[in-house]
């Protein structure tokens, strides 16, 4: 992942004008943009040319954005930002559940999209800290590897950042607003559903029983807390 330098963006958008406009704007911001017009084409492209980030329109002809999102997720841990038509309907929730890291609402201003791309690409700070153990979970902050009972867990970048943020201060409660600012780099009024969806995906990967979480616990009315294990 490259930040500050040239990053490779795969843009999947069916409308030619929007595609061309975004390609133009993102290129001006210094990204190398590959623009395709369908989900199938995008998945094809991913096999040969791995981008740093995928910008994905949810409303696509043929294979829809949710399905594309799920397939990208099963293939790897590339950050996904979805383009959605509406800000607070089921599309957003469904998209986040399908594994998207963030979303922007159309019509989007290029500088907003640019800020989101930079946020998901921001390098996770590598510490020289020793291997942390929390119950059966081991977190290697230097190698950015998380393992459950010795088995490496594959985490998307946002999930990893969320886990590192929470586990950095075990037992401390983080409000959704704080997490939105520290993990997503959204302002105070970011969409708290981003946090909730990411927590659920994270739990599905590291908890034995996501209905009775041990590592990422909900503090009702306040936010989330790591442990205490």
């Amino acid at each position: 992942m490259i930040v500050g330098g040239v990053s490779r963006v795969l843009l999947i958008e069916d409308d030619p004008a929007v595609r061309e406009g975004l390609e133009l704007a993102l290129t001006r911001h210094g990204h190398r943009v590959r623009a395709v017009e369908s989900g199938e084409e995008g998945l094809d492209r991913l096999r040969t040319d791995i981008p740093d980030v995928v910008v994905l329109d949810l409303m696509l002809p043929g294979m829809d954005g949710f399905e594309v999102c799920r397939r990208i997720r099963t293939a790897g841990e590339i950050p996904i930002i979805m383009l959605t038509a509406r800000s607070d309907d089921m599309d957003v929730v469904a998209g986040l559940e399908a594994g998207a890291d963030d979303y922007v609402v159309k019509p989007v201003q290029p500088r907003v999209l640019e800020a989101r791309i930079r946020a998901v690409l921001r390098r996770v700070g590598r510490d020289q800290a020793e291997l942390e153990r929390h119950g059966d979970l081991t977190i290697d902050r230097a190698g950015l590897v998380v393992a459950n009972r010795g088995v490496p867990v594959s985490l998307a970048p946002t999930e990893l950042r969320l886990l590192l943020e929470l586990s950095g201060t075990p037992g401390r409660v983080h409000s959704r607003q704080q997490l939105l600012e520290s993990v997503w780099e959204h302002g105070y009024f970011g969409d708290s559903r981003l946090v909730d969806a990411c927590v659920q995906r994270l739990r599905a990967k590291i908890e034995d029983d996501s209905a009775a979480p041990v590592y990422v616990q909900t503090v009702r009315g306040f936010g989330y807390r790591f442990g205490p294990v």
């Binding site: 302002g187 105070y188 708290s192």
Partner: protein, 494 residues
């Protein structure tokens, strides 16, 4: 509308029935009573008069045309019997007072012992030569007094002898039976009245039930329950009314649903248009930045044109976003994403995000937490403060206060305030306070959206002009907004 109209009608009908019954019973019972009473008295009188006549006939011929008291006593005795006593008068002379043999039978007879018992009217009639009778009440007892003159008949002429015989007969037994008659008339009347009231009650209830049903149905209809219909029973006038009501309700329902369909169509059209505009706008918005950044390097007037396109693209984007937002409220799909929020922190974040922290005075008590949708409250607050900064005069202040149920956020400026005529309309869509200002900086939907957002929380926004100048917008929200089924907050699922 009277509070309980059907009761009044019920009581009135009941009263009318009872009155009718009383009048009828009184007329029937009274008529029968009087007829029976007269019959009884007539029979008694006739019998008494006949008996007296036959006794007097047996008396003839008289011994002397001008009898002395003894002879008068004989005459009186002859006319008396067990049931009545007699007195014979001739001029100033009268038969001696003596009780007839065994004269006192309780309630049976009366004795004429006193001439005063005989009414003067009766005496005049008798003196004229007629047989006459009259009922009198003597010492509390009803008495029939019969008087007859004795006539002298000589071959071809007849004249009054001057001797008058009076008998008295007690009417006590008749009085008793008439009283009995009256009592039974009263009794029967009373029973009939009770019976009539019960019948009337049942009948009015029968009539009034449909009327009440009609009233209830009309009330429901008025409350917007347009599918209200009533059962039509029989084919009387009430059934006609019910049928008319049902037809009217059906028509009303049809019209209302037509209007609603038209309104829904209009709103859907707006929503569709907004969504259609979104895609070309997305393309425009994507390149507007490029134009804006390059504008400085472009020669005039191209640079100016580029800036204009860029600025108007932004405005258009805002308008379309607002239109889409308002159509989401209209279609009822807008939902709350609730979070526990520190209010002071929220207000500060809103001001900070827009660079207003320096311009706005705040009065924010700490430790006021509320359960609400912070993004929507941010939209409301940004709109109110933005308006105050644009249209009002500084200083602009935001004051937070809370009670156990509600939080109030008061946004105030110190300008001249709003025109009183404008106040009721400030939350209307596209309402322009000043007609000359064709376009304001906002989309014209800002306050309408702010209010929709407040109402989604089950709160509201109100506006007044402060006594010492400036407009005061008050956002009032429940401390804990109602959960929208927990479906929009994924955190709520856990």
């Amino acid at each position: 509308m009277a509070p309980r109209p059907s009761l009044g009608l019920h009581a009135r009908l009941l009263f009318a029935f009872a009155l009718l019954c009383v009048v009828t019973a009184a007329a029937v019972a009274g008529g029968i009573y009087f007829q029976a009473r007269n019959g009884i008295l007539q029979r008694t009188q006739d019998a008494a008069v006949l008996a007296m006549k036959s006794r007097l006939e047996a008396l003839f011929p008289l011994r002397s045309p001008s009898p002395n008291p003894d002879e008068l006593g004989d005459i009186a005795r002859a006319v008396s019997d067990g049931g009545n006593s007699a007195i014979a008068l001739y001029g100033g002379t009268r038969s001696p007072v003596e009780p007839p043999p065994g004269w006192w039978r309780p309630g049976g007879s009366a004795a004429i012992q006193d001439v005063r018992m005989i009414p003067a009217e009766l005496r005049r009639a008798v003196a004229d030569g007629d047989i006459a009778w009259q009922r009198v009440v003597w010492q509390g007892e009803p008495i029939l007094v019969i008087g007859t003159p004795l006539l002298i008949v000589e071959r071809d002429r007849t004249w009054v002898s001057g001797i008058e015989v009076y008998t008295a007969r007690s009417l006590l037994p008749e009085q008793v039976s008439i009283d009995g008659l009256a009592a039974s008339a009263w009794r029967n009347g009373g029973v009939a009245l009770v019976f009539a009231v019960v019948l009337a009650w049942l009948a009015t209830r029968g009539v009034l039930r449909p009327v009440r049903e009609l009233g209830r149905a009309a009330r429901l209809l008025g409350e917007g329950e347009l599918r209200t219909r009533i059962a039509v029973r029989g084919s009387d006038e009430l059934a006609d009314v019910a049928r008319t009501f049902n037809n009217t309700a059906a028509e009303l329902e049809r019209h209302v649903s037509q209007l609603r369909a038209m309104e829904a169509d209009a709103r859907r059209f707006v929503a569709d248009v907004s969504h259609e505009l979104r895609t070309p706008l997305a393309a425009l918005a994507a390149v507007a930045d490029v134009l804006d950044e390059e504008a400085a390097r472009l020669p005039e007037p191209v640079g100016k044109a580029a800036r204009l396109v860029s600025q108007e693209t932004l405005n258009l984007t805002g308008l379309v976003n607002d239109l889409i937002e308002i159509s989401r409220f209209d279609s009822g799909v807008a939902a709350l994403t609730l979070n526990e929020v520190d209010m002071a922190e929220l207000v500060r974040a809103t001001l900070r995000a827009r660079g207003w922290s320096e311009q706005v005075r705040t009065e924010l008590p700490a430790a006021v937490t509320a359960r609400l949708d912070p993004r929507r409250v941010d939209v409301i607050l940004a709109n109110l403060v933005g308006n105050a900064l644009r249209h009002g005069e500084p200083p602009v202040s935001v004051r937070l206060s809370a009670d156990p149920q509600w939080i109030d956020l008061e946004v105030r400026d110190h300008g001249p305030g709003l025109d009183e005529a404008v106040l009721p309309h400030v939350f209307d869509r596209f309402y322009k306070a000043n007609a000359a200002r064709a376009r304001s900086e906002g989309s014209g939907l800002g306050l309408a959206i702010a209010r929709e957002n407040a109402r989604l929380h089950r709160g509201d926004i109100t506006v007044v002009n402060a006594a010492d100048g400036g407009a005061v917008f008050t956002l009032r929200l429940p401390l804990r907004a109602p959960d929208p089924d927990g479906q929009s907050t994924m955190g709520g699922l856990e």
